[in-house]
């Protein structure tokens, strides 16, 4: 197994006394795709926000390639090499699609011209090039999701955090996105941590799966092991019944 790129150690967060995430520990190996799954309210997005620096954890640490990220603001986390998407997409609505990605590219680029070239290349890659000059808010949901990915990629992350980028997509659109992600991972060695509900994609893409329930990690293993794990099945079924 390759070295850990991201190490999440003993992470905890409480909101008004309610434990959203408690003592969660996992690592994301370099060059791999790890999926974070669990029923609604399991603490997946909170974990993401803790890693991305939206708020600081009460306890625990986040480390990227040996660099401690705990307590850094989101823009510093981005500079350290983590790009993210939002579960509820957040395009810069009045800017064009291209301008959206340019802003991302400017995270590492001083020259607007160079940033624009990089943005165009990414839009090609995510099949958004023909929409480049449209205002972002006029895009359809699948296109907005791809724009989120393009904008995050433009910051040239070593780790990409994807928060349900497949939710709300049609099966064919899911397949296209899965293709793009696999390609990024295989060809460029991009490490990905994804929150996902679409199990088909989780099985197809991820090397490892971490399962959260009620803020705690209940399982961690290969996709095949996870679907056979009785605790995981129980947590999902329990959640269904409740």
């Amino acid at each position: 197994m390759s070295d850990a790129l991201l190490t999440v150690d003993n992470l905890s967060k409480r909101f008004r006394g309610l434990k959203a995430v408690s003592n969660v520990t996992f690592t994301v190996p370099e060059g791999r795709i790890l999926a974070l799954i669990g029923p609604n309210g399991a603490g997946k997005t909170t974990s993401f926000n803790l890693i991305a620096g939206v708020f600081p954890p009460d306890e625990g640490t986040v480390t990227l390639k040996g660099q401690r990220l705990t307590g850094l603001k989101p823009n510093r986390v981005c500079a350290a090499g983590i790009g993210r998407t939002f579960q509820i997409v957040k395009p810069f609505g009045h800017l064009t699609v291209e301008e959206n990605v340019v802003v991302g590219a400017l995270a590492r680029e001083r020259s607007v011209e160079t940033a624009r070239r990089q943005a165009r290349a990414l839009l090609e890659r995510l099949e958004l090039a023909d929409q480049a000059q449209r205002p972002a808010r006029s895009l359809t949901l699948p296109d907005r999701k791809r724009l989120e990915v393009a904008r995050a990629l433009a910051t040239r992350p070593t780790l990409l955090l994807l928060d349900e980028v497949l939710a709300g997509l049609r099966p064919t659109e899911v397949d296209r996105m899965v293709e793009v992600l696999r390609d990024l991972n295989r060809r460029e060695g991009l490490t990905i941590l994804m929150i996902e509900h679409v199990m088909r994609a989780v099985m197809a893409l991820s090397d490892r799966v971490v399962v959260l329930d009620h803020g705690e990690k209940i399982a961690d293993g290969s996709p095949a092991d996870i679907v056979a794990d009785p605790r995981v099945i129980e947590s999902y079924l329990g959640a269904e019944e409740a």
Binding site: A52, V54, K73, P74, N75, C78, A79, G83, R84, F86, K90, P91, F92, G93, H94, L95, T96, E99, V102, V103, G104, L106, A107, R108, E109, R110, S111, V112, A115, Q133, R134, P135, S138, R151, A152, A154, T155
Partner: protein, 341 residues
């Protein structure tokens, strides 16, 4: 609605460029044909166009609603006038110090506001509160004339551009140069890395932060740029009118007058504030003229008209007149199929 986007704020067509160039030329030649009254009206128009652009940097580019911009006008005006009267420092050198004073004030307010997380309406109220504090404070500042007013010496027939003393035509060209400079600076800023980051913060602060934008830095630079530009408008005002009263200079009403051109013309656009000033001020002047001719005494009618203009614009043309006019007359390049309206 891509008009608010970057490209189309400048992506004018040949026809648009021709029209803009013609307007510029007309403004350049105006004093040759215009009489004294017209020159003074145009000077007022251009002054509002200028401060409107300065305000636009904060609200239009970065999404920070300041309703206390009279503060920066006033600080610029009082600082340059005080330097001139008390220390004999001319307005050109004084302008630098005046800008510094305004930037210090802007950054002070910004620092407090952003560090303490004061947002939206609360931030707007904070800017009003500081402007009001300045108004009351300057009323009691006897060194600067207090509520009785602060006056610059007026000598007829002196032409001394180095000290910004001279004919109305001189002032006209100074303010025209300021408007063009502000336009160039705004465009430069908007197309810079910083400008992209401002727009991103305006659109969605959380998403901007996630792609590496330092919110505090972006907002502080926007406040600094806007307050510096606005202060220059104050320097001009001090030397043009030669009198300053805290009650007028720092008033809430003045702050509203400053935001009007950009709102009417189009918040966040480059041409909008200029167009807005050219719509509003002549209409206001026309009303005043009509009242004079008809012999009616109706104080407040002009302001009432401004209020109606404000409501009509935000209800029917919330994006301002320029985006609408520009696409109607084919002055800007069409934005693919992105146009929703």
């Amino acid at each position: 609605m891509t008009i608010l986007g970057l490209r189309n704020t400048w992506g004018v067509t040949g026809r648009g460029a021709a029209l803009l160039a013609l307007s510029g030329l007309a403004l350049l030649l105006a004093p040759l044909v215009a009489d004294r009254y017209l020159v003074s009206v145009l000077t007022t128009v251009l002054w509002f166009a200028y401060v409107g652009q300065a305000w636009n940097v904060m609200m239009g580019f970065s999404g920070l609603l300041s309703l206390g911009h009279a503060l920066y006008v006033g600080l610029g005006a009082y600082a340059s006038a005080a330097l001139f009267i008390h220390f004999g420092i001319g307005p050109w050198a004084g302008a630098l110090l005046a800008m510094l004073v305004a930037v210090a004030a802007g950054c002070g307010i910004g620092f407090l506001g952003f560090r303490f997380g004061v947002k939206g309406v609360h931030f707007a109220l904070l800017t009003i509160a500081f402007a009001e504090v300045a108004r009351v404070g300057f009323d009691h500042l006897q060194w600067l004339g207090g509520s009785g007013g602060f006056f610059l010496p007026v000598e007829a027939g002196v032409s001394d551009p180095l000290n910004l003393r001279g004919s109305p035509t001189l002032f006209y060209y100074v303010i025209l140069a300021l408007v063009l400079a502000a336009l160039a600076i705004s465009r430069l800023l908007l197309h810079s890395r910083l400008g992209y980051q401002w727009l991103a913060v305006r659109e969605d602060a959380e998403a901007a932060e996630a792609v590496g934008v330092d919110l505090f830095h972006a907002r502080m630079t926007a406040v600094a740029a806007s307050s510096a530009l606005t202060a220059l408008g104050g320097v001009f005002q001090a030397f043009y009118f030669n009198n300053l009263f805290p009650e007028q200079v720092f008033s809430m009403g003045r702050s509203i007058e400053i935001i009007l051109p950009a709102i009417v013309g189009g918040i966040g656009t480059l041409i909008g504030p200029i167009l807005g000033a050219f719509i509003l001020t002549p209409l206001g002047e026309g009303l005043t003229f009509l009242l004079e001719v008809s012999g009616l005494e109706l104080p407040g009618l002009k302001q009432l008209f401004y209020g109606v203009a404000l409501v009509v614009i935000v209800v029917f043309r919330p994006d301002g007149v320029w985006p609408w006019l520009a696409s109607r007359l084919g002055l800007v390049r069409a934005s693919g199929e992105g146009d929703e309206r």
